[in-house]
Amino acid sequence: GQQVMQIPQYQHVQEGEDFTTYCNSSTTLSNIQWYKQRPGGHPVFLIQLVKSGEVKKQKRLTFQFGEAKKNSSLHITATQTTDVGTYFCAGPFYNQGGKLIFGQGTELSVKP
């Protein structure tokens, strides 16, 4: 079936280091959304990318959508302890009524 895969599953960084998580879909996506879930919390929407090759920035976070609309990445520059959590990408598939398929997430821990 259609899948969204994320790597790495876990990432441990020292505060101030950069972090990147990658998301790959088995099929083309109409758009991709990114969510953050803090430990013990619920997913919170971060951003949506729609266009092929699109790049969006939110302060230290940079999101990119691949040219083929099958992959995406999230890069955090100079991580802070407030960045701790699990980052999920999620995509609606064209032939599944737009329902979101979530990746398994990348858990980020930041050592101060």
Partner: protein, 115 residues
């Protein structure tokens, strides 16, 4: 603006018992979702409503799970009888419209433990 409300926040039951979860979405949101999130995994969609109609329930284990959204506002998800593998967080989310182009707002979730 009030967020998505869910209750209870925690529930512990024995296997073969039944349990029900309640969700009240953000006012005006037509689409409501129930997800199951097992520890260490991403949310998995169980059922999706548009107003009071079911859009997708392909991953709902219908022999034991049921859900309704009778008046197109709040919703209940029921498990009867529960199995050990149902231990998870059950998340309710809502969005303004049906299509995948709208962000979803999640509630705090109900953590279910089946012993």
């Amino acid at each position: 603006e009030a967020g998505v409300a869910q209750s209870p926040r925690y529930k512990i039951i024995e296997k073969r018992q039944s349990v029900a979860f309640w969700c009240n979405p953000i006012s005006g949101h037509a689409t409501l979702y129930w997800y199951q999130q097992i520890l260490g995994q991403g949310p998995k969609l169980l059922i999706q409503f548009q107003n009071n109609g079911v859009v997708d329930d392909s991953q709902l284990p219908k022999d034991r799970f049921s859900a309704e959204r009778l008046k197109g506002v709040d919703s209940t998800l029921k498990i009867q009888p529960a199995k050990l593998e149902d231990s998870a967080v059950y998340l309710c989310a809502s969005s303004l419209k049906l299509t995948g182009g709208y962000e979803q707002y999640f509630g705090p979730g109900t953590r279910l433990t089946v012993t």
